[in-house]
């Protein structure tokens, strides 16, 4: 494998993208324009997606027998009609939903909750005999309602349900912790669309690759390259490399554009790097689809049309429009690779999932497997068609 040849051919492909207006528009300008249009339209006036206010409750109370104070407390919270209670088996899941914005608060009922209540009722006038404990409360710092209203409301319900007091200010063995504020952003419509737009930008590589290969085949350039010592592996490697660079440039430009107009993804630098990485890998899949298209197409014009057979399903079933689709259409989307790219980037940027989370790793694995498979099929078919 001669790196010199690979770099020379990759450089040629990059120059083509930059110098040919049609390719430049489709690969670079169009995704940026799309991001600008959607970002300004759905970011500024999209509003929030949160219509309900919910508290996640993790009941760790497992002590004693007799009256189940924690269940009474939870029932009382539900009875307020203001707070919607969602119970969780563990704190981790509840916290996960909190950071995703599905709920506004997480309340941890301590394991000695019942003992504490029992001690109060055994010695109502002797605070020194009470078993003191604390309810942990985690709140969405971005929600005015959560930070201002939930703590006193929980305090009030606790006082009335567990201690039969009208006033929440009286002395009780159970305290509400200083709420830990969790930063949960309100999501605009664009926040939900952006991961799909990142994937969408890369899809059009299919068309550009197909047109490029068919044109080079038609005008004899491929045959000409084949008269040099360049091996098929070197040639295909150069195509993969140049299009991965193009994919990386695309996502960088789209991300920068989105950022400039106010998009602020969750996640840290590692999440950002992984998101860029998965989209770059995805560009290999589109090179593969481009090669399959070039195999089928007899002219550059036909390549454009055939390319849409690969572009449209990926666009509608796997990118920013997927959230508007029916359940069945979304299920079909699981067969297109862009679905997993969008899902991974959504997990990283919207749900703040760590790069090591199983969902993200699964998506990366599917996209990698899909991309390498499609690329190999594309290379094999194109080699047969073009004798390269």
């Amino acid at each position: 494998m001669n790196h010199h040849r690979i770099f020379a051919l990759a450089k040629k492909e990059l120059k083509k993208t930059i110098r040919e207006p049609a390719a430049l528009f489709m690969i670079i300008l169009f995704p940026v324009l799309l991001t600008l249009v959607f970002g300004t339209s759905f970011g500024a006036i999209g509003g929030t997606q949160l219509a309900t206010y919910q508290i996640g409750v993790v009941n760790l109370d497992s002590t004693g027998t007799g009256q189940n104070w924690s269940q009474s407390f939870i029932a009382a919270l539900t009875g307020t009609q203001i707070l919607k209670i969602q119970t969780y088996a563990d704190n981790g899941t509840a916290q996960y939903d909190l950071v995703q914005g599905k709920i506004q608060a997480v309340m941890l009922i301590p394991s000695n909750f019942r003992d504490s209540c029992d001690s109060f009722w055994r010695y109502p006038e002797e605070p020194s005999s009470w078993i003191n404990t604390t309810i942990q409360l985690y709140l969405d710092s971005g929600s005015v309602f959560a930070t201002q209203a939930i703590p006193p409301m929980v305090q009030q319900v606790l006082a009335t349900s567990a201690f039969a007091k009208k006033q929440a200010s009286f002395s009780m063995p159970i305290q509400i912790s200083n709420p830990s504020l969790i930063s949960v952003g309100k999501f605009t419509t664009f926040d939900f669309m952006a991961p799909g737009i990142f994937a969408y930008a890369s899809i059009f590589i299919t068309m550009i690759v197909a047109q490029s290969f068919v044109t080079d085949r038609e005008n004899g350039s491929l045959r000409r390259i084949n008269t040099t010592p360049t091996t098929p592996a070197e040639f295909m490697m150069s195509q993969a490399m140049s299009n991965m660079i193009i994919g990386l440039i695309q996502v960088a430009l789209v991300f920068t554009t989105a950022y400039v107009i106010g998009y602020r993804p969750k996640g840290d630098a590692a999440s950002l790097a992984l998101a860029f990485g998965i989209i770059t890998i995805f560009s290999l899949c589109n090179v593969g689809f481009g090669l399959i298209t070039a195999t089928l197409a007899k002219s550059a014009g036909a390549a454009t049309g055939i390319a849409f057979l690969f572009i449209l399903p990926q666009m509608f079933l796997g990118t920013f429009v997927v959230s508007a689709l029916s359940q069945s259409a979304q299920a079909v989307g699981r067969f297109v690779p862009s679905y997993y790219v969008t899902d991974a980037v959504t997990s990283l940027f919207l749900r703040a999932a760590p790069p090591s989370s199983p969902t993200v790793l699964f998506d990366v694995a599917v996209v990698s497997f899909y991309s390498i498979g499609v690329l190999l099929v594309g290379i094999e078919l194109f080699k047969r068609r073009s004798s390269f």
Partner: protein, 253 residues
């Protein structure tokens, strides 16, 4: 690489090669040997099998039967070795219009792994000889047809190959460009390069070639130096030779 006594000194050996495309036989039972430093002309009308022969020689097509050795290597088995030795100027001007003339030539220098210093020297030399220096930094999309054809040749010869396959290099060229290319081909010969030139221009073949093979309908119908062929058929030029052999003029196809 083992040479028999017959093969010694032969740079190209075509042994009973036939090439069929479905129902069409493009080349049939072709036997040919070209010595090192020889400028060999393949002459014939369009469709005679000249380009198919070139494509077989440079490894782009596999013969249906027969074998080909170039530079001592079996083309079917050692294609990469062959491609390191050869330079191919295709009949179609296969150039990249979005690159400059200089970039096109440099690209093929890189593909042939020419060292940077040699590439730079050869590039300027070649651009000068083919009259492309002035417009070398312009994108090829703006070149005239003649300039593209000269560039086509420069791209194939930058790496200074031992064997050059020039497939109709002067077709559709203006007179000035044609003479520049002829001079260039003569210089290749003076440097002991082996050149296979296909053409249907009789005067080009007659003027440049040491040896000529005349092809028609995929078969080699005559072989010899221009003077030998003229003498053998009592003809005043190669056009007459072809007329006597086939009963028609070469440009009639």
């Amino acid at each position: 690489m083992t040479d028999t006594d017959d093969e010694k000194g032969k740079e190209i050996i075509i042994d009973n090669v036939t090439k069929k495309f479905e129902d069409t036989t493009a080349v049939e039972g072709l036997n040919l040997a070209v010595e090192k430093g020889e400028l060999f002309g393949l002459l014939g009308p369009n469709g005679a099998g000249k380009t198919t022969t070139i494509n077989i020689l440079c490894g782009l097509l596999k013969p249906t039967s027969g074998s080909v050795r170039v530079g001592g290597y079996d083309v079917a088995k050692e294609a990469i070795k062959v491609k390191e030795l050869i330079g191919v100027c295709p009949q179609d001007t296969a150039v990249f219009s979005y690159l400059t003339g200089r970039e096109n030539v440099e690209l093929f220098g890189d593909l042939h792994a020419v060292p940077k210093d040699a590439l730079k020297k050869n590039l300027e030399d070649l651009l000068n000889k083919l009259g492309l220096q002035e417009d070398a930094n312009q994108r090829v999309g703006k070149y005239s047809g003649g300039m593209k054809r000269r560039l086509n040749m420069a791209m194939s010869l930058l790496h200074d190959p031992e064997i050059a396959f020039l497939d109709e290099p002067t077709v559709a060229m203006d007179v000035q460009s044609r003479h520049a290319v002829w001079d260039f081909i003569r210089e290749l010969k003076s440097r002991n390069k082996t050149v296979i030139l296909t053409t249907h221009f009789m005067e080009e073949a007659e003027d440049l070639c040491d040896e000529i093979g005349i092809m028609d309908h995929g078969r080699l119908i005559a072989l010899g130096s221009p003077s030998e062929l003229r003498d053998k058929y009592g003809a005043k030029n190669l056009e007459d030779v072809f007329l006597q052999l086939t009963g028609r003029r070469i440009r009639e196809g």
